[in-house]
């Protein structure tokens, strides 16, 4: 086999793609379809709550087309970071959708499955043995922090996916997975160099984001060869250019050409990007450098409270000039009423510094109105509701100096005005864990999904 043709349908499973793009990919011949189904970008709550950040019906729509395409073409469908955050609860949710889709088709599929959850005790043991290493700017990990963490997943790499590919299953579903590994595992199993394979995966995992015009909801084709790969858009409205591909290599990475992953790093310092045909870019010179010690990245989320918010607007310019006085007055009133309690009350002021907070270089109001979010986080939902409701009503009628509008200070767009947001999580684990046997923690399970209608 001297080349492999791999289709990526979408930036994230459930972000959608035009059916015509998928059909164009199938018409040209494919060796596999890979799709990244997750990210930490939407924040810690999805890992903590066990919730998917993509709507189930949207995921199902994509899977209907992808499963039919893969089974029809007799090529594997590989899904990484199933369910958005890739913990067992997320993976099982994704399996449920796959099963539903197959049953509706009246078909079965042989699936291989890798859960990527790491038991807390395993992390504590590793901590004791000095096998946990911090990543930049993450807080130091303690046994106590592990205890209060809701769930922990590890980002598995090509090495953990390889055993799942044995026996050529129809569908491979992995929990939390290094995004490029979704696309690189099968090529590596077939003898391709992991350097170009992982670099191609790094671009494919974002769907058409690296094309121009970029999109998170369109299909692209990666064609992997011995020491290079090329990228082709499957939608005539998009194309790859040297600039669009090269720019993407910097996207959401700490370093432009050294990209760490499970078991080693990609070195792109010698990379060459060439426009080999209109809309087609060829990349060569990508190298994978194995690490002396195999390590995986752990991600864990811990619950830190419950949030209630109220959304309001202010149009009164005298009030807007006095906003900080109003906030200080409301804070004092809350404390006066309820005493010292472990709640956090934030006033988020859009039109001033709502987006950048303390980093805002111009923390002044230049417009004629502001949006305010009363944001309360407390140990229980009830307490958050209480503090938020009280802060909101106090602010509505707060008598600041110079006030002329004595009937009310805020415009509430909604009734009810307050929203109980549920639990709030923080990333409590974001560390490397050294592993001697990278596969031992992540056994492959095999099952048959789907069945008669």
């Amino acid at each position: 086999m001297d080349e492999m043709r791999i289709l990526s349908p979408s930036g994230i499973l459930g972000y959608g793609f035009p059916r015509a793009s998928l059909e164009r990919g199938l018409a040209g011949g494919l060796d596999m379809i890979g799709v990244d189904a997750g990210s930490t970008d939407p924040g810690p709550a999805y890992l903590g709550m066990g919730k998917c950040f993509v709507d189930r019906a949207a995921v199902k729509r994509d899977l209907e087309l992808l499963i039919a395409a893969a089974l029809g073409a007799r090529i594997p469908l590989i899904i990484g970071t199933a369910g958005g955050s890739g913990a067992k609860v997320h993976v099982d949710g994704c399996l449920g959708v796959i099963d539903e889709v197959l049953r509706a088709m009246g078909k079965t599929a042989r699936a291989a499955l890798i859960y990527c959850d790491v038991p807390k005790q395993a992390v504590k043991d590793a901590l004791k043995q000095g096998r946990i290493r911090p990543l930049p700017f993450a807080p130091k990990l303690t046994a106590q922090a592990v205890t209060r963490t809701t769930r922990i997943v590890a980002q598995v790499g090509v090495d953990m996916l390889l055993p799942a590919l044995e026996g050529e299953p129809d569908i491979i579903v992995a929990g939390r997975c290094y995004d490029p590994a979704v696309f690189a595992a099968l090529p590596v199993a077939r003898g391709f160099d992991p350097g170009p394979a992982l670099h191609m995966g790094k671009i494919l995992e974002c769907g058409a984001i690296a094309a121009t015009p970029g999109s998170g909801r369109d299909c692209v084709l990666g064609v992997l060869r011995k020491d290079s790969f090329r990228l082709e858009s499957l939608n005539p409205e998009r194309r790859f250019t040297v600039d669009s591909v090269a720019a993407h290599t910097l996207y959401e990475k700490s370093h432009p050409y050294l990209l760490p992953g499970p078991g080693g790093h990609l070195d792109l310092s010698e990379c060459r990007f060439e426009q080999t045909a209109p809309g087609v870019v060829q990349v060569s010179g990508s190298r994978f450098v194995p690490a002396p010690q195999y390590a995986v990245k752990l991600e864990g989320a811990a619950r830190v409270g419950f949030r209630t918010i109220a959304i309001a607007g202010a149009r009164d310019r005298i009030m807007i000039e006095r906003l900080d006085d109003v906030y200080a007055g409301v804070r004092a009133a809350v404390e006066n009423n309820f005493g010292q309690r472990p709640y956090r009350l934030n006033f988020r002021t859009y039109g001033r510094d709502g987006v950048m907070g303390a980093l805002e270089p111009k923390p002044t109001v230049e417009g004629h109105e502001v949006g305010i979010i009363f944001d309360v986080v407390a140990p229980t939902q009830k307490e958050a509701d209480t503090i938020c409701g009280f802060a909101r009503s106090t602010a509505l009628h707060y008598g600041y100096p110079g006030r002329v509008a004595t009937a009310g200070n805020l415009a509430f767009p909604f009734s009810p005005s307050d929203v109980s947001m549920g639990p709030v999580y923080e990333f409590s684990v974001y560390h490397l864990m050294d592993l001697d046997d990278p596969r031992a923690l992540f056994p492959v399970q095999r099952l048959t999904l789907g069945g008669q209608k």
């Binding site: 700017f137 830190v304 923080e426």
Partner: protein, 109 residues
């Protein structure tokens, strides 16, 4: 010394998380000529990033110029981790504005 605004030298200026604890800032310069001068002068440098983003030397992971894409990348500690209680921008995608209008030393060639 003459100066120019960064936005007059660069066609892409953006911010994004690189993981929940880092913010990475990318500046792509308009032409090879501009890039070469920007790199020689190090118009994106630690002093500038410290001033614009209120970080210390220890909170700057790296500032790197990458020739193949004519870009400078600065990666710094997020002021608050993504999604933490006080966070204002979970994806970190709207923290780039201070870089747009900043005046940097520049000599027309």
């Amino acid at each position: 010394m003459k100066t120019k605004r960064m936005i007059d030298l660069a066609h892409i200026i953006r911010s994004k998380n690189s993981g929940p604890f880092e913010l990475t800032l990318d500046v792509f310069f308009r032409t090879e000529e501009i890039y070469q001068q920007a790199k020689t002068r190090r118009v994106v440098n630690a002093a500038l990033i410290k001033r614009l983003y209120g970080v210390t030397d220890e909170q700057i992971l790296d500032i790197i110029y990458f020739d193949p894409v004519r870009a400078a990348k600065a990666t710094i500690a997020r002021p608050v981790a993504s999604g933490a209680i006080e966070d204002t921008d979970v994806y970190g995608a709207q923290q780039h504005m201070p870089l747009l209008d900043v005046e940097v030393p520049w000599e027309e060639l």
